[in-house]
Symmetry: D2
Subunit: 422 residues, 4 copies
């Protein structure tokens, strides 16, 4: 839905202006919300109304507005966006417009152009020839690019959660605290993941090393094996701990099976990295039979597109790790195409980084035992994220359980269907 | 094991005093630990050794010491405990000895008397006629009681975790953080609970209302049904939320099944309390068919001895709630007899309160998603408590799963045994 | 402000009904908010408007409504409250109305009666003779009392934060996280406290033992000395640790001055309690010169009305501690008269307990280094509470600093005023 | 102190072997600790003693050991370190020794060579020609380098906190919880910083953006102005928020002075980055008068050597930010020379990253309001770090206060000294 705000002044109620305007909107195929009516306190005082006009497209709304103007309705701001040339490579003009992660349009020569992709904390570069607008990061700015400045002629479409069905991403006004029941939410996440897969949406998982430490790796592997993960964004730590676990059975020197400390186990982490560096790459280690299970093994086997982004805490790192953070951001951004659901598991750094890149319409669920991770993600602008304060191992266990259950129900339904005689 | 500390002075190494003393200890059936040997820097300087002598009983150690004294070993402090009359009801003499939760002896007229029950932050009252010593709380003190003062003649036996098997309560030096794998620990807790039941030990559960909010109530019910819970200490909140859930399907107004808010659901909590007050008591509500499931229902059905202790946050409260906190403490203390394992689930207030009452030898595990609860319990003196930072619902789900699994293994073993032909 | 909701149906815009109704409201001295206008999609479809009418008193609104009804405005629900006799002492009738902490009115025989005091999670007892309504706790219910049931005829006035000045309690939509600057907020709290004192409002402090452990006690003492504290609600622990500190210089066995552990310091806590029990009471210990500084000393010296409520964690307790939690709740409730600002410092138990008793108009600020305490207070219904996630020692240091600064400014202003020649 | 472990077997007590050995050690200028004495249970059973021999240098210990061997003392392991060639650039040989952050020696051709610099999670490369050993990161490994493998011939000198004075870094066995008094600790930190400066040690500060958000920036600026900061390691966020604050008075869009939200304030952050990118660098912005206060301004003015390391969360980044994480690690490592004290303020990522690089002898204090940051730093191997769970703004306010106080005391002492007549 596209909208414009109009304002009416004068004796709008006595003079029947208001009813006429509303009638015109409905006639034009639009709808409206009366945001404010201020009635003059004295009969002679002027009144004022502020109305949002909605229509199915920018053109339809423009049509309605043209007619409303004849009734004296004033359309609030519909100026062209102001464009200024970037003064240098990597530098925006002063007062450049800073994007949000919502669907955004700029008004250029009487038309509204959608800015793509929706991404927060970017500038907006407009190509007047091609009639295109795109969000650009600092590093993408080239001298002379036309960049939107100020706030006029820019319209943001607030992302509205659909109200027609009562899924988890709709009814959850806020985060799920540690004290609330979570099974219902996890079941919903499972059905969203299945829905994404059926409709061709991509499932992105952003995961921290606690997925491995906590013993949740095996559940995550199952998700990958069954085809529920399309993209994995992580850091060196997740991959290194996973590979340590695959090679030595330990994670940070702790045997996952029994919880006991391995002798000299803290070294396993370094040896795991060294082994993969010796093999040349993770796929090479899989190919040569050195790496035979674990999350990264499954990613290679099942063609999950993974990005390992570097951080200053990294040991090693593994050969696949992209040590330049701008390059890592660019790569992650390029792999968001088609993502409709994102699971952020136990990593503040990567969750916020990816949250910064995601458009608001991507369904995002953040799982962490620490409530502050969940809170910070929303605070940093990824307001669409739903937080679940819980332990990752039982979360992934239950999630894979729901996914498996749904599959077996599908099978029995198909079997029944097949059994129905013609 | 009982011990005394001895000190040796002089040319203890040259003169062969040390070897003789050590030999004497071994001959007497004791063992020793050399705590400190200070050798004179110059040949003429005297040396010094400090040795702990251990024996199976106070008498055996006394025997050994008598002989060691003939070698010049000086026994460090073995004075009688000093006893002073309590100056008034409820008041200890100044400088009274404050107990720990460890096994403790007082030395009286040449004998060591065990103080019972082991309980921290009490005074020690000695009955010279009966030759008995007991820990007493302020409220139990009566004018003229003989109370131990100072530190002489009092011996504490540090509780030592057995090292002969490698159970969870032995190998866990510290708490299990949220990042560690927990399944192995939970399996161990299950086998400790089964061990307790087999050996006639009582299982105490201390539970907060999050057990209900989080949807873990059904697992807890199963534990009760199968006879794994002997005592339940909780507050008004646990019982009220459980009964709300049993009567209305909500907990704090949230439907547990779907996570949605019930209309006017916040009132259900008050109505649940009112219903039970109307019935007269929880057992009465069970008897009349008003209360037909839930934790409290199962407690009534399966004769779990429960104590509901009041707090200033309580609404209602339910008829069973003991609103006087000293009376509640007394009642809880009286029900600790025979308890060998305590599970503390999601309640800081009750965990610390019960921790204050428990002897150190009771195996104690504290489960909370908030690490600070676990830390505080240890800080407040319940150092034997093992902490598990995790979500309560999956914890109890997995625990009951392990218990059920072990039972079915027992059955199949029995069945096999029965099937063996004579 | 008092309000009623009216509804208009029909051709309310074409027929000029809406303007007439709005005019009538203004003429009658009221104001209005148009909550909803639904305009028929077809010219012949009826429209619908829903309008809140506000007036300075229930009577004024009634007056306006009477006139509006002549225009066809339908007044939404204005039924009498339904009253049912309590079936037994301590038991409400089924379906009893559960109060909130907001200003509430019940409609009885055509009149609106205010329910006093505003207090959450109570029933509402109506005295038809006296034309009075009061909130009653379970324990206050007597058989035969007339209790409000259902929701008809009951009106809650949502507490609205004043918008005329920009104090901390107005602009703070939510809690102050640990990452935000706090000096500005603390300065505002100081000026609210001074404002309360000037206008005769009472300042309530609810404090936990961390006030003493953290070394903040000396600042709190200064607040008391200077007359900024009228009521203190706390538990045995705050008083015991404060007295331990006054008598031995330690808190939980830690020397506050240097942070070092005192030898056998864990016993000081018990000895402090014993000393006061020996003296008979805290005031007796002050009178006899045993207790010569600290928070409790200052409370006695400066006539702060304190309530020490018991909990099952308590050692001792001190003679003043009210060990029956219902008695403690009653006493605290009786001492809320006149309280206009409440500071809740480092205690989850007491903060939630007192939060349950406070009317919504009391300005409430909750200070704790643990964000979950602050969150839980709001979750439990004390939504007016502002949370400050910070360390208590620097908070109280800064607060007393601002109070002292404001005093010295007052003095210099007075001095200047006095110096102005006539 | 250097040490070797020796073992004695046989009738060591009867035969006077033990006294002779101990005497020999003392005569040789060494000292000893008896780690274990196991006396045969039967007179004919052999005994066993394990003794650590300490001496002022490896040579002195070697001397003593040579003589002890004549008494039958067996020196436990003194084999040469095993060296294997690195198989490829960036790859260690399998079974390579993984370093700790403690002082370490490798035994080569009868000599102990110190490994420099002490740094955890590295390999150890030995240059046999130069008789040197150095820790190397994966990226520093070149094919053919001789790398230490296994554990023989490698000796780690456990860092021992000095016991001769009772500073904060000595008496603090563990972290300072949020409930403990902190002033004494902060005063000690101040005197350690002053001590570092007097003795030519460098002070390193590692800081996160919460230093700015919380309003602590002004205190930090004072520390820099007065010369108490030699190195600053931070990320893009600290610098960007500091510069935002310097240019617009806001931090994350919040006005620091009043806590109110700035209109469109969330954009200031991006504009601040853009301004510096436009200027070319932070020093250029200072030189041109664009940047006139704040932390980064003071760093430029007072020649603080700062490193800004990139992360995938970064916006911008600022021109100085090193976007390659390996390059950033290398640069930070190169700037640790001479650092004797490190303050880690409100940043988990940078604290752990720098903790990984620091030798164990650097006094390290970690300040965060979140206890888990402090705990994780120790868990990840920086065990020497002392944690202070508190709010950063009051911490830095108090720290700069103590530093200023000490300075003024110095001045008055000097003034007095100068005033003393000859």
């Amino acid at each position: 839905m596209f909208s414009e705000k109009i304002e009416l002044e004068g004796h709008i109620i006595d003079s029947l202006l208001l009813p006429k305007v509303l009638d015109e909107i409905l006639t034009g195929g639009g709808t409206f919300t009366i945001r404010e009516i201020k009635i003059g306190k004295q009969p002679t005082d002027p009144s004022h109304a502020s109305i949002d006009v909605f229509g199915p497209s920018p053109e339809a709304v423009d049509d309605i507005l043209r007619r409303l103007r004849q009734h004296g309705a004033e359309v609030v701001e519909q100026k062209n966006v102001r464009l200024v040339e970037a003064p240098a490579d990597g530098v925006f003009p002063p007062d450049f417009y800073v994007s949000t992660n919502q669907q955004t349009f700029v008004h250029c020569h009487g038309k509204w152009i959608e800015v793509r992709p929706a991404s927060m904390d970017c500038g907006v570069a407009v190509d007047l020839q091609k009639h295109e607008a795109q969000t650009v990061k600092f590093s993408q700015v080239r001298k002379g690019m036309l960049i939107a400045v100020g706030h006029h002629g820019i319209r943001v479409m607030p992302f509205e959660r659909s109200t027609d069905r009562h899924g988890v991403f709709e009814f959850m006004a806020s985060n799920v605290s540690s004290e609330k029941p979570k099974s219902a939410v996890i079941r919903e996440v499972a059905s969203e993941i299945r829905l994404a897969r059926k409709s061709g949406g991509k499932v992105l998982v952003v995961a921290g090393p606690a997925v491995v430490h906590s013993g949740a790796g095996e559940h995550f592997e199952k998700m990958i094996e069954r085809g529920y993960v399309n993209r994995l964004f992580a850091g060196n730590a997740l991959a290194a701990h996973d590979i340590e676990q695959a090679l030595y059975g330990t994670s940070l020197g702790v045997y996952l099976a029994g919880g006991a400390l391995a002798e000299e186990g803290h070294e396993n982490h370094m040896r795991a990295i060294n082994t993969i560096r010796g093999a040349g790459s993770i796929p090479a280690a899989v190919a040569s039979g050195v790496l035979r299970h674990g999350i990264m093994y499954q990613c290679v086997k099942h063609h999950v597109d993974f990005v390992l982004a570097g951080s200053i805490r990294d040991d090693g790192p593994l050969p696949e790790v992209i040590t330049d953070v701008l390059a890592a951001q660019r790569l992650m951004r390029s792999k968001l195409e088609g993502v409709t659901i994102a699971l952020m598991l136990c990593t503040m750094l990567h969750s916020i980084a990816v949250g910064n890149l995601l458009p608001a319409h991507v369904k995002t669920i953040c799982v962490d035992i620490n409530p502050s991770v969940v809170t910070k993600l929303s605070d940093r602008g990824t307001f669409q994220a739903i937080g679940l304060v819980t332990d990752i191992e039982p979360f992934l266990r239950e999630l894979t359980g729901f996914l498996a259950l749904a599959e077996s129900e599908d099978h029995s339904t198909h079997a029944q269907a097949a059994a129905v005689p013609a």
